[in-house]
């Protein structure tokens, strides 16, 4: 415990490194990982830093394993985290579901590269955005944040931990290779200036405690193993006691609550960045590295006197429907550049409706958009 957990100060680091430092600053003391480009640096920083701050790093045999160690460590009272990229993310999907149904707080960082399959290990993609929402079987809701800079990789990892504790679920940091591998200034505040959401530990005595009886916000308080609560936690459908009950009567309220604890609290979760939306006729919606390119295009457009605004998604999930719907009622169209062939743009399209065009600026991966491609679509919509 000889080293500093929060590296207060100014740094020049990559998004990967910043995500690891963000985790440490958020109190993460357990990392179960498996290396994969371009997320390996998160793992390597954790391997180096954790022993010095009293934490544990373990490199597991595969991603199924690393995902499950997070759940074990979380029930052991630790804040836990892993990082991966597409292929590993796919392998984590089954047990992401276990984290969801057992309401286990933890954080997964996916540094997205080009897919499908092994694809482009070292080059950028944003193609796992829909997988983040739908990649595990069964119904569930998720929280997924997309940083656009190393500074945000740091900040949003802390947000991710906070959301995971607040709503008791695995939270996803959907980075992309460009942000992950890019060096930039990262300012790490003083430890005491970092707001952390503590674990929602029950105040009940063991005899009274029901592990899945929710508070008013639909989230049940948690316990830590080894404290005498003698809980049973299962991936099967269960009642408030946590006992398996295999019928529709147990399934309906459980699964609805798991979803509603996100949807009904969504207003408190949505994060986005609005730029020059007030008079905008066209709004660009983007996230991650693409938001930087998009902002540049928006600046250029404004310089040319075009009424173009920018909505940058921070929580891609839950998708901030209200703001998009509100914009849809008064603008001429949405332009959605993303490094995929159209994923979040489907959500925009759904929410916006057919009254105005939603035009994706697709990019199958490997490099960021050529700003001109975005510009061209904006011009088209403005016509």
């Amino acid at each position: 415990m000889s080293e500093q957990a929060v590296l207060t100060g100014e740094h020049f680091m990559t998004g990967d490194e910043a995500a690891a430092e963000g985790g440490l600053a958020a109190g993460c003391r357990f990392f179960g990982g498996y290396p994969i480009t371009p997320a390996t640096e998160v793992t390597e920083v954790m391997a180096k830093r954790l022993p010095g701050v009293g934490g544990v790093f373990i490199q597991m045999e595969d991603e199924m394993a690393s995902m499950n160690t997070l759940l074990g460590a979380a029930w052991g009272g630790m804040k836990s985290m892993t990082s991966t990229s597409g292929p590993g993310f796919s392998l984590m999907m089954e047990n992401l579901g276990l984290g969801i149904i057992t309401e286990t707080p933890c954080v997964l960082v996916n540094v997205q590269r080009g897919g499908p399959s092994t694809g482009l290990p070292t080059l950028v993609g944003q193609q796992d955005m829909m997988q983040a929402k739908w990649g595990s079987h069964g119904d569930y809701e998720i929280i997924a944040l997309a940083p656009s800079s190393p500074q945000e990789a740091f900040d949003f990892t802390i947000h991710a931990f906070n959301f995971s504790e607040q709503y008791r679920l695995p939270v996803l940091l959907m980075m992309d290779e460009s942000v992950g591998h890019m060096f930039e200034k990262v300012v790490i505040p003083k430890a005491e200036d970092i707001k952390l959401v503590p674990r929602r530990i029950t105040k009940d005595k063991p005899a009274d405690y029901l592990p899945f009886k929710p508070d008013d916000d639909l989230v049940p308080p948690m316990i830590e193993f080894g404290e005498g609560y003698r809980v049973h936690i299962t991936g099967l459908t269960h009642d408030e006691k946590g006992y398996p009950v295999i019928n529709a009567e147990a399934q309906q309220p459980l699964v609805r609550r798991l979803c509603e604890k996100i949807t009904k609290n969504a207003d408190k979760i949505y994060m986005y960045d609005e730029r020059e939306l007030d008079d905008a006729e066209v709004v660009v919606i983007s996230y991650g590295i693409t938001a930087r390119i998009a902002q540049q295009v928006v600046n250029e457009c404004r310089a040319e006197g075009k009424k173009v605004g920018h909505l940058r998604l921070i929580t891609c999930w839950p998708f901030p429907e209200p703001i998009v719907r509100k914009l849809a009622d008064r603008i001429k169209g949405f332009v959605v550049p993303e490094i995929n062939l159209g994923q979040m743009s489907l959500e925009v399209e759904r929410v916006a409706g057919r009254g105005i065009p939603t035009i994706c600026v697709p990019n199958a991966g490997g490099e960021v958009h050529n700003p001109e491609d975005i510009h061209a679509v904006i011009r088209e919509v403005l016509k």
């Binding site: 074990g72 052991g76 193993f225 049973h232």
Partner: protein
């Protein structure tokens, strides 16, 4: 300290309380296991063994995967987690690292631990992770209706080997040995005393301990192979098991209705993962 009242006549009770009930989730009994299934007996031995150790019950966790055996986690009155199929060991790994003061026990089936979970068990043994693994080997996938396992003996019939299994099964103790497990024993559920003792030893051991428990699956393994019920398999164990403590694990493979060599095969000491990680050991700790 008090002894039971010195009365000759049976105690009259309104409601019977089984002495093991405090260790069990009594409100979930009777359990789902079939008549003559061996899993219940293994659990019986386990709670008894646990009681005999001096480990405080709140410092013990049971982690299971999916399967008939996987339901064990749901019946013991301890902190318990029922993971997905095959993933009990990595969950237990995370828990054991977060809670070095707890004894983490993985209690699961042969299919769960040695088929789909194969990669995790070999790596946990290799790391000498501080967990105790109790593997109920009933030679079959019980929960899903009796398919072939990686432990199903040759010739045995299962629903996916309808004319008899042609595959070679794992010799699980040998496999564990090759991975460096520090405690390896095998008992049938008939050997309740010895099984209990082994479980106690494993619970008291620091590091990766492994017990293979041979148990009847009445409904699927016994029936499909026309071996009767679990009762008949218990008789078979009685007649065909042989105790060879310290046997070379290489020699303890199990054929279809052939001799079952039981005993404590390995019991060595070496630093655990966490001891080495924390540098609580001299040198590399080999």
């Amino acid at each position: 300290m008090s002894t039971a009242p010195a009365k000759a006549a049976p105690v009259e009770r309104k409601e019977l309380h089984h002495p093991k009930d405090t260790m069990l989730r009594e409100d979930r009994l009777p359990h789902i296991w079939c008549p003559t299934c061996g899993i219940g007996t293994a659990v019986s031995c386990f709670v008894e063994a646990l009681r005999e150790t001096n480990i405080p019950e709140e410092k013990v966790a049971v982690v299971s995967g999916i399967g008939c055996t996987g339901r064990v986690a749901g019946y013991v009155n301890l902190d318990s987690f029922h993971t997905t199929h095959g993933r009990a060991i990595p969950f237990a790994t995370g828990l054991a690292l977060a809670k070095p003061d707890m004894k983490v026990v993985v209690f699961s089936g042969d299919g769960d631990l040695v088929a789909i979970g194969g990669n995790h068990i070999i790596n946990a043994a290799r790391r000498n992770m501080n967990i105790t693994v109790i593997c109920i080997n009933n030679f079959i996938y019980g929960m899903t209706g009796g398919q072939c396992a990686s432990t199903t003996p040759q010739i045995a019939k299962t629903s996916t080997t309808p004319t008899g299994n042609t595959d070679y099964p794992f010799n699980v103790p040998y496999l564990m040995d090759a991975c460096g497990a520090t405690y390896i024993a095998r008992w049938t559920v008939l050997h309740i005393r010895r099984l209990k003792k082994a479980m106690g030893e494993a619970l008291n051991k620091k590091g990766f301990s492994f017990i293979e428990v041979i148990a009847p699956c009445a409904t699927l393994y016994a029936r499909r192979n026309r071996l009767g019920t679990g009762f008949d398999l218990m008789k078979f164990y009685h007649d065909n098991s042989e105790i060879q403590h310290g046997a070379d694990t290489k020699m303890v493979d199990i054929g279809f209705q052939e001799k079952i060599i039981c005993g404590k095969f390995v019991d060595i000491d070496k630093p655990t993962f966490l001891e080495r990680y924390r540098g609580e050991t001299n040198g590399g700790g080999k």
